[in-house]
Assembly symmetry: C2
Homo-oligomer: 306 residues x 2
């Protein structure tokens, strides 16, 4: 998708294959780190690993690594902190799927954690992943200033906590079967999924020593792609089929959920997606050539098929 | 209770009233800090506060403050980190009480969180308390070295996570209706309740700038009072009545739980309590006069009526 308001500098054009390879390289780096945790053997570890190894796009750690690169750092050193974001994401999925929450039996085509290990065990696996995430965030990381690292811990906790993700999940729980207006819908998304994406970008930039100006630029970028991601999700649910998506299509309609298309119409949602994608590109200006991957990532989110 | 193997120096004798007052002063300091969190209004905050304000002995923050004092520090500066321990303890109680876990409808004489707010909400309140605890642990605290603070974050996460409290809770869940031997019972206690008590003492000492020798001494002290606490709990369940305890007496017997008295006999459990209390006193030697309160706390745990 080309940008319409903000032209992208010519040097940013790269072919899609190269982007795909970089995306996979980042994800592989994350996966290899995730595979080597020295957890004790037992049901708890099995249950944590079951959900952690279920795949997914690793979008949060990838975003953090790309943000670190964009401000001039390299990713290997900050892998523990970056992977903590995937643990937090995974814990939130495990708890979301519980009978007392969204009551989903399947996740990414496999049985949900609580269907395999039991509800009590799933609650504990989520608790353990969340807690271990903070152990990772506080790991010694070479070349990272300890004041900045403490700030990163604090910001991740804030983004994941009552004023962020958990707060959004509570709003979502309370909004079941209720029609939301656009402002309310955006608030749920901003808290439930947006806050962690934003902190992923900030975390990478903070740990890699980025300036406040660059941290703020990445914040605006992540806010924009966070909403773009959600709008695209809503559009795909409407326009795609279950086989392509790997999950039931048209489920928003069946569940009478408020979505961008239901509130703005399909054309309105597509326009909004374009606006958010353009905002994402624009936010990156200050980062120059080191942000190539992030430009491609914004397009990828808007163009993905599932 | 006097010490039989290790005589306590004469200057440590203080009257019980003075200890009670100090205990209350510490707890009041904690309560006043807990009462002023700037959480957003709504069900989530209500639910978090419901459990957080349910009282309890505040033993973990008190232990941390006393440990900080024992190594030469003062407590006010490290209150955020110290109170994080109470949030972690409270989250663990909320999740423990859930139907999928211990299925308790009451806690400290009040309805359990999930009975008042619903299961999904209780899961989220626990998640939010745990997450906010790490925000507190990473707060700027005047006079605290940031390397030490990161170590404290890491140690608390480790003590609360899969190799600590959550791991112990999983063992406990798997041990239901199963007879444990003494080694297994101690392992459950060491992980489920001991790890957080130990890290409370370490946290106070680490943040207040204590030497490794003093941190280790406080570790041994906390290990001993942790087990003493559990042994005393088991003895009280057997010897006391429901009115005094504020919870049903003889419940271990009814639930066929493995306890110290069931595995060592009542006399054996009382001897073990004395041994652990003596170990606690002995561990404090290196701390001298600044550990007066901790000596009294060990006796208080062994002598308490509920």
């Amino acid at each position: 998708m080309g940008s319409w308001k903000y032209a992208r500098p010519i040097f940013l054009w790269k072919d899609d294959l190269m982007f795909q390879k970089e995306l996979e390289d980042y994800a592989r780096l994350v996966d290899s780190y995730l595979a080597q945790f020295p957890w004790p053997t037992g049901t708890l570890t099995e249950s944590m690993n079951y959900s952690l190894s279920a795949g997914g796009k690793r979008i949060r750690p990838v975003l953090a690594l790309a943000a670190a690169h964009a401000v001039g750092g390299e990713g290997e050193d900050i892998l523990p902190a970056v992977c903590a974001l995937e643990l937090i994401h995974t814990y939130s999925l495990i708890h979301d799927d519980l009978p007392a929450m969204d009551n989903d039996d399947y996740r990414r085509g496999r049985l949900a954690n609580h269907k395999v290990f039991g509800e009590g065990q799933a609650i504990l696996a989520g608790d353990a992943l969340l807690t271990y995430a903070f152990e990772l965030l506080a790991q010694p990381m070479s070349g990272v200033d300890s004041q900045r690292q403490l700030r990163a811990v604090r910001e991740v906790a804030q983004a994941a906590g009552p004023e962020g993700m958990v707060g959004g999940q509570m709003l979502d729980l309370e909004a079941e079967e209720k029609q939301l207006n656009l402002a309310e819908l955006e608030r749920v998304h901003r808290l439930k999924t947006g806050a962690i994406l934003v902190v992923a970008a900030r975390l990478g930039a903070i740990l890699a020593g980025g300036t406040e100006e660059k941290i703020e630029a990445l914040t605006r970028y992540a806010q924009a792609i966070g909403l773009a991601f959600q709008i695209k999700d809503d559009i795909l649910d409407l326009e795609s089929d279950s086989e392509t998506l790997g999950k039931p299509a048209h489920s928003d309609l069946r569940q009478h959920k408020s979505t961008y298309p239901s509130l703005m119409g399909l054309a309105g949602a597509k326009l909004e997606l374009k606006i958010k994608t353009d905002e994402a590109h624009a936010a990156l200006t200050v980062l120059g050539e080191r942000a190539v991957f992030l430009h491609e990532l914004a397009d990828y989110i808007a163009q993905r098929k599932y």
